[in-house]
Symmetry: C2
Subunit: 283 residues, 2 copies
C-alpha cells in the first residue's frame, strides 16, 4: 500500500526504458534518471555493450537505480540449424547479461517470418521449441523470459507473437518464474480480449511498458510511437487492469520516435513524469 500511495505523488513506479533517450549513452541515461528522480531504468544490450557490462552494472548500482528489464533477447524463428544455434547462443548471453546487470526480466521479441517464408505456423512452433531450450537456463540465472507480443503490423518482420493471449499460451507451458509476458500498451491496446487476457496473465506479467498510439503512422511504422497522452490509448483503464491482475512492478516508458530522440533527454524525462502522473496512474 505505501509503495502504491507513493507512486501517486512522485515518479516512483516510473522507469525509463533507455531507447526513449536513444541519444544518451548508458551513463548519461543513468545520470538523467538520478537528476529527474526516476528510480529505475530498462537497459538495452547495445548500450550496455558500448559502455562495457561491468562498468554498466557498476554505474547503475552506484546511482542506486533498479534495472527494471533488459531489452532484448528473442529472434527465435530461424529455420536453418546454424541460425537457430546462433540464436540460442545469443540468448544465453543475454540471460547472463541480465543476471550480471541485476535484473530478473529479459524482454523477448520473438522474431518474424524467415526471409521468403510464408509458414507462420512453423515460425510460431519454432518459438515454442526455442523457449523450451532457454527457459530452464534462464531459471538457473534467476532471470525470467518476458515474451512481448508485438502489434500485428509487425507479424511478418519482427514478432510472430501478436496478442497477449498467444503470449500466455506460450508462457503457460513453463513455470511462471521462468517465462512471463510483457504488456506494452502500444502493441495490445486494440485487442478486444485485452481485459480478460490481462486478468488471466496475473503473476505472468513481467513488465508493463507504455507509450501512445499516434497517427498518422510514419513510413517506418516502428518509429510511430508517441508520448503517453498524445494519442488514442486509455492508459488509466489499462493500468487499472494490470494493477487488478496483481502487478506491482515498474511502469517503463519505451518510445521509438525520431522526433523524441532528437529532443534533449532532460525534456523527454520531464514530459514522461508529467504524463505518468496525469495519465497513467491515479484517478
Amino acid at each position: 500500500m505505501s509503495e502504491r500511495s507513493e507512486r501517486r505523488t512522485s515518479p516512483a513506479g516510473l522507469s525509463l526504458n533507455q531507447i526513449t533517450t536513444r541519444n544518451w549513452s548508458l551513463p548519461e541515461a543513468v545520470q538523467g534518471c538520478v537528476d529527474a528522480g526516476i528510480q529505475a531504468i530498462g537497459l538495452w544490450r547495445d548500450k550496455v555493450a558500448e559502455t562495457g557490462i561491468d562498468r554498466a552494472a557498476k554505474v547503475v548500482r552506484e546511482a542506486g537505480l533498479t534495472v527494471s528489464s533488459l531489452c532484448r533477447g528473442g529472434f527465435l524463428t530461424a529455420s536453418v540449424p546454424e541460425a537457430r544455434r546462433a540464436a540460442l547462443a545469443d540468448n544465453l548471453r543475454a540471460i547472463e547479461e541480465a543476471a550480471a546487470l541485476g535484473t530478473d526480466t529479459l524482454v523477448m521479441v520473438v522474431g518474424g517470418l524467415p526471409e521468403g517464408s510464408h509458414d507462420l505456423n512453423g515460425a510460431r512452433t519454432r518459438v515454442a521449441e526455442m523457449l523450451a531450450e532457454l527457459a530452464p537456463r534462464a531459471g538457473d540465472f534467476g532471470v525470467r523470459l518476458a515474451i512481448e507480443p508485438l502489434h500485428p503490423m509487425f507479424c511478418a518482420d519482427r514478432a510472430v507473437v501478436s496478442t497477449l493471449g498467444q503470449a500466455l499460451d506460450l508462457a503457460e507451458q513453463f513455470p511462471a518464474e521462468q517465462v512471463g509476458v510483457v504488456v506494452d500498451s502500444y502493441h495490445v491496446w486494440w485487442d478486444p480480449q485485452l481485459a480478460g487476457q490481462i486478468a488471466r496473465a496475473g503473476n505472468r506479467i513481467a513488465a508493463y511498458q507504455v507509450c501512445d498510439w499516434t497517427l498518422p503512422l510514419p513510413s517506418d511504422a516502428l518509429l510511430g510511437r508517441g508520448h503517453v497522452g498524445d494519442g488514442h490509448i486509455d492508459f488509466r483503464t489499462m493500468t487499472d487492469l494490470v494493477t487488478a491482475a496483481g502487478y506491482t512492478g515498474w511502469i517503463e516508458v519505451e518510445i521509438f520516435n525520431q522526433q523524441i530522440w532528437d529532443t534533449p533527454g532532460e525534456q523527454t524525462l520531464a514530459t514522461m513524469i508529467e504524463r505518468h502522473l496525469s495519465h497513467v496512474i491515479g484517478s
Copy 2:
C-alpha cells in the same frame, strides 16, 4: 463439385473489387471484366454514384456480371445523436443501393474512435447498437450486412472491429441471413486464432477478399497492399480454411495501392488472374 473444379482452370470464382482498378469508371471496369473473362465485380458506392445507380445496374446486368458485394456501409461509432442519425440514414441508403444493384452483400467498415475519444469499449458498444437498428432493415431488402474486421493498425481511425472472432461475436447476435462477416486476407492473416474462427464462421462468411501483406508499409498505411503472391501471406492455406468452412462464394481481389492504381487496368486484371490460379486456389 463442378463449380469447384471449374474454378481451378479458369478465373471462375474470381471477382474484381473495383477499388483495385480505381482509375476505371464503373462501365470501364465492367468492360474490363468481360474482356478478361472475370464473371463478378464488387462495386463501390462512389463509383456507382458517378455513373448513376440505374445505369450502373443496367451496365452490370447487360454484361452478364454478378455483383459480388457493395462497398461500403458502416462508420457506426459516432457518439453525437445527429451524427448517429446521419449514419443510420446513409446505411439505409446503402442497403437500398445494394438491393438495386442485385447484390446480397453490403460490406461494413464499422468506423474508428470518434475525434478525441479514448473510449474504445464505448465505440464498440455503439457498433452493436447500430447493427441492431440496421440488421432487420437489411433483411427486408434481402441484403446481408458483412462486418469486416480491419487490421488492428486501423483500430483508431477506421474500424474498432479488429478480429474475425470479434466480428463473429457481433454477427451472432443477429440471424445469419442478416449479418455476416468478411474474411479479408490482409486484415486477418496474422491472427493466431484464425483457423478456429474461420471454422466457427461457417455460413456467416459473406465475402472472401484477398490481397497480400507487403513491406515496408508506406507512410499512408492504407495503401500498402500488394498483389497476391507479392508478400507474406499463405493464400492456399487460407482458401482451404474458408472452403472447409463451407464458403462457395466469390473470391474478390481488393487492393489499395497507388502503384497498382497507376497501372493500366488490363494489366492489373491479367496479374490478378495469374495469381488467382497460381496462389489462391487449387494445389
